[in-house]
Assembly symmetry: C2
Homo-oligomer: 329 residues x 2
């Protein structure tokens, strides 16, 4: 019967699913060897009705995703008196009321750095693509223009470019390492100067943009970073400048970015994220100096497999009374 | 008058041009501030007639390209009794009879490593593009399919891939350094084991292919390397394997490569070079697992500027009786 725990797996620990994370759907058969999932999303009942109907007031763990409901007291936590563990498939946990979880002694664990190397190599790939015009050249060859018209415009060298990393966390540090191997000079801005890194710190995004050929945006989206890359920053970056964004679309003022690209006020952009996904500003679709990616910087077969192992590991640790691998609270 | 030395620059040293190198055409005004070019290619006369008509038996230097005539005794050198210096805009000098130059005490200088970092970053960019499907994803977004159909297939992580470098010269070493920064494990094959590098040496391309996820081809085209990447090597690389070629098209048996790609017997390819450029096998144009590039791995604004400086420097060194910067002979 859909919407209830499987009757064949009575001894597996119960895990509530409010909405199935994509990684759950991908690895459902493997996950189901280890846990007895309560698929609340398959039921027409409200959460309290579902919990009552399935005798699940004892459920202690839930596996959640930012695609599902916000995890707050009134809608979710008040109906799950035994909940002690929330595992997410995401890095960001802004959809969970962490204060409330702390008050209730509920441990929250996120995806940690499972995607960090994938995001970093995606940023480097987008940057090389924009500078060296790889996707545009691929279109040129596929259209048959190489034989017909001969030359393709020269690209620009990555080597020795001045790179400004916006947000030097786990991902930004890996981007810096990759680009440094091509003799790029690396600077960064971040909430605080990091004492242990060899890169130049700029407290101010405008000065960083003025002194950089490329801005690579890999910071979290917060109230402070929303539209941080605005008209003034783009002007400071200048006509030869390139923007790479693998963070969130709204870190950039997208309307201004489109205008700067259309008017040749910056040189190019590699964009994995957009303000209103999956909608992409239609003006960008005809530009050869942009590379457009459907929010997949984190998405590889290997990252998804690692995420499956990571989520399973966190849940197994919880049910074995061991410390979670990536606790937030 | 076309075809003769400029009468306004009588004191600049003469440099013969049999065929204008692309870098000469791009930087003609700057080059012409330093040298008095004899544009034999602009004249309908044969070379000996041209030399006689322009009183140029004293010409001591020529600037050549592989796009021009072969530099041999009978056609060229016998008519230039004062020639002591040949400067090329290319890395390869297989179009010059080096033995004959040595016998005549003519110094030959090539483009040295001007393009090495450009070629290396292009190879890394093509590899990330193939693994992470960047160009294919860009097509997907531009076609409007993101909004319409949602998902795009997962790519593969670069990190921790086993990379086999075919030809660990200047370019191959820079590719290895770049990929090592993403925690790839690097092996190589080359004519000889290099004592000073930390990578695993394979004397045999088949074993290297068997032990690699990716082959990056960056060796010279010689009688030994022509069609080195053949059916057996592709079989050894296997279904998950990727080929990157920034060397010469003919290092690969292109017919076999196309067949392996079409049949899914290898996973993908990033190709900057082809056997019959600018013709590209039409079967490749519809494949999403290949990235096609019109032989521009070496071509950036910065590389062309460096090449101009390098060629100018070699010619200036010659006319100042100083050692050339990149002598071959």
């Amino acid at each position: 019967m859909a919407g209830t725990a499987s009757p064949n797996l009575p001894n597996l620990p119960k895990v509530l699913l409010l909405k199935p994370p994509p990684i759950y759907l991908r690895y459902e058969s493997q996950f189901s060897l280890h846990f007895n999932f309560l698929k609340a999303y398959d039921s027409p009942l409200s959460l309290p009705e579902y919990i009552a109907a399935t005798n699940s007031t004892d459920v202690a763990a839930t596996f959640v995703t930012s695609l599902g409901p916000r995890i707050n007291a009134a809608d979710i936590l008040d109906h799950l008196p035994s909940l002690r563990c929330i595992v997410t498939s995401t890095i960001g946990v802004d959809f969970i009321d962490l204060d409330e979880c702390r008050r209730r002694q509920i441990t929250v664990a996120n995806a940690a750095d499972v995607f960090a190397s994938d995001c970093a190599e995606s940023a480097v790939g987008l940057l090389i693509d924009v500078l060296r015009k790889i996707s545009a050249a691929d279109r040129f060859v596929r259209s048959g223009n190489w034989s017909a018209s001969g030359g393709f415009p020269l690209g620009n060298r990555l080597g020795h470019k001045k790179i400004g990393i916006v947000g030097l966390g786990n991902i930004g540090s890996k981007i810096a390492k990759g680009l440094a191997s091509f003799n790029c000079s690396i600077s960064y801005t971040s909430r605080k100067k990091k004492p242990s890194v060899p890169y130049s710190f700029y407290p101010d995004i405008h000065t960083l943009a003025s002194d950089s050929d490329v801005l690579v945006i890999c910071c979290p989206l917060t109230d402070e970073t929303r539209h941080m890359i605005n008209k003034e920053v783009l002007l400071a970056l200048g006509k030869e400048g390139v923007i790479i964004n693998i963070a969130r679309g709204s870190v950039v003022d997208e309307k201004e970015l489109v205008r700067f690209l259309l008017e040749g006020q910056i040189a190019g952009a590699g964009l994995d994220v957009f303000e209103n996904e999956p909608s992409v500003p239609k003006e960008l679709l005809a530009l050869d100096n942009v590379v457009l990616s459907p929010h997949l910087a984190a998405c590889t077969e290997e990252a998804f497999h690692d995420l499956y192992q990571h989520v399973k590991g966190n849940l197994q640790a919880f049910f074995s009374n061991k410390p979670l691998h990536s606790p937030i609270v």
